[in-house]
């Protein structure tokens, strides 16, 4: 097994070995959590959080299982960062329950000794030296100072130990943030948009690193991103959130087979009109319109001819069809189907 396929690496972990099924389609108002008997490092139940009159998270429930690389996906403003901050004890929830290692993170700072954090915009005292600051972090956590150099080696940053933090490039700073999150060898690492400041090469390296660390240390990762194809590479399971609500959570492959298979994409010049007609077909469960066409999902079972029906309806409505394709190949599609939104 090589690091060239981190997703493959990640998917050989504990859940797959146990053959467990962790698939849930969540109605926004009553999001379900996966409860398949696996150990969870963190759980959120019915979390709501507002900023003034803006409801950022609305009754969200989430379970993060031990040993997983879990993706938290959703567009900007979906509530990912708020969810993560509540999980880290940086924000207090308006309502709901949050537990990390069985304790409330807002009231129990000691659990942070078991958690590593990579913030969306990592920030450190700029005038301190790279190695010196990590050694200081080692003393904070009570781990041997030698871990600082090891953590720098783990992220391939061992050639700049005497450089000041403020002199690091955006990519190096992000790697430094990862090293900082790893220095105390945490069991649970939360990374909020960790690739946001990186170029494509840096992104790939970082994703490979997360997959490798998950494989080598068994640490649990929660990684958020609005770039779905990134999480596609490394995540074994994902939670799809939008507008502060959980729409689906589960194993990526199973989510694909559940929502991806049987999805037909219709490209047309008048999607709204055609979608209205398609929704009248009794075997159609969802016909969602977006900027490029219509995504159609059929109810399971039965003998039907969607292709023929769509062509017929288009002809009757005087709508021009420019393409029909079946199946899906990415989390973008999964996201769109699950939430009825496009990835921004």
């Amino acid at each position: 097994m090589t690091l060239d396929d981190p997703r493959q690496v990640a998917r050989t972990g504990s859940n797959a070995e146990r053959g467990e099924s962790n698939l849930h389609r969540c109605e926004p108002a009553q999001a379900l959590i996966s409860g398949c008997g696996t150990m969870s490092v963190a759980s959120i139940r019915d979390l709501s959080k507002s900023y003034g009159s803006v409801l950022a998270v609305d009754g969200l429930s989430l379970e993060i299982e031990e040993g997983a690389v879990m993706g938290l996906i959703g567009p900007n403003g979906a509530g990912k960062t708020t969810t993560i901050k509540v999980l880290l004890g940086l924000l207090s929830p308006d309502s709901g329950e949050v537990e990390v290692f069985g304790e409330d993170p807002w009231d129990n700072p000691r659990i942070r000794a078991r958690v590593g954090t990579v913030h969306e915009k990592s920030s450190f005292p700029l005038h301190q030296k790279v190695l010196g600051y990590l050694e200081s972090a080692c003393r904070i956590y009570g781990v041997p100072e030698s871990r600082a150099a090891e953590a720098l080696r783990e992220v391939d940053l061992d050639d700049v130990p005497q450089r000041r933090v403020g002199e690091l490039s955006a990519g190096m700073l992000q790697k430094f943030a990862i090293a900082h999150a790893l220095v105390h060898e945490p069991e649970f690492i939360v990374a909020d948009e960790p690739t946001s400041n990186l170029d494509p090469r840096g992104r790939n390296e970082l994703l490979d690193l997360i997959a490798r660390l998950n494989r080598e240390t068994g640490a649990t990762f929660l990684v958020s991103s609005h770039i779905l194809s990134e999480l596609n590479r490394i995540c074994r399971s994902v939670a799809i959130i939008s507008r502060g609500r959980l729409w689906a959570q589960g194993d990526v492959d199973e989510l694909w087979s559940r929502y991806g298979a049987g999805v037909t994409r219709v490209s047309t010049d008048r999607p709204e009109l055609l979608a209205d007609r398609i929704r009248e077909l009794e075997y159609v469960e969802i016909a969602e319109v977006d900027s490029t066409g219509i995504s159609i999902r059929e109810v399971a079972g039965g003998d039907r001819d969607l292709y023929g029906d769509v062509l017929r309806l288009a002809r009757e409505a005087g709508v021009r069809i420019t393409g029909i394709e079946t199946g899906t190949s990415s989390l973008e599609e999964l996201f769109r189907i699950a939430t009825g939104e496009g990835d921004n």
Partner: protein
Amino acid sequence: MSGRPFLEILSSVAGEEYRFPILEVFAALFALGTLVLAGAFGSTGHFAGTEEGAAFALVNSLTGLPVMVLVVLMLKNIAYGLGNDLESGVIRTYLSYPLRRSSLLSARLVSSIGIGLLLFLGISLLALVITSTETILSQPVPVALCYLGALCYPLLIVALVLLLTLVMGRGGPTLLVGILLYFASGILTSLLGFLGAALGSGLPLRVFAVIRPDIALQRHYTTGMFADDLWVPTLAEAVTYTALGYLLVALVFAVAYLYFSRRLET
């Protein structure tokens, strides 16, 4: 193995805040200048009142500029330093450590205020000891009260600026507020003195002395220096005003701690 987050964060913050000790050097130069002047003109000054009054006036004259430097230093550390850390997310990084929020704020304040206070006391007491050892030994009460009175209002400003910085999540505007509050108090004291004289009442000064107890102490110890006798508090009154002033300071700091511990969201 248990860590030592408090000391490490204190060390980290102090390293950032005192990298370029320009203000501290300025205060030390002032103290040096005071020593030179004291050598040239004699140490106890020319105050013609009681011995207690003379001691108070001497200490008051030695603390004037260092207090101003201290105020600027503390405001810089709180409004600029803490404000920047809040804005940039460094505080968020500190909050990811296994440390209580109150301990984190304490580490921050020990550096931002505590070290500044130690520098101030070190510089001004050194100047005082060298120039007037006998005065300190013979009049410890007015010396101590003068220091307490001089520091009360600056600490109140710092506490208010701290609270404001935490609530706003940034420090630029609050630095300005702090500096304005400091300089406005001198003008306000004069205006209230005029108002009191016009009304023939010491009430305006009494009210203001709650936040600036040094006014009460000055009027008690150096009453001969004032043209009016609007208000001459007894020692007990002056001490009570000082205690009230520090109670107010403690209250504002307590609110800031409470806000940081329970409300601050980064």
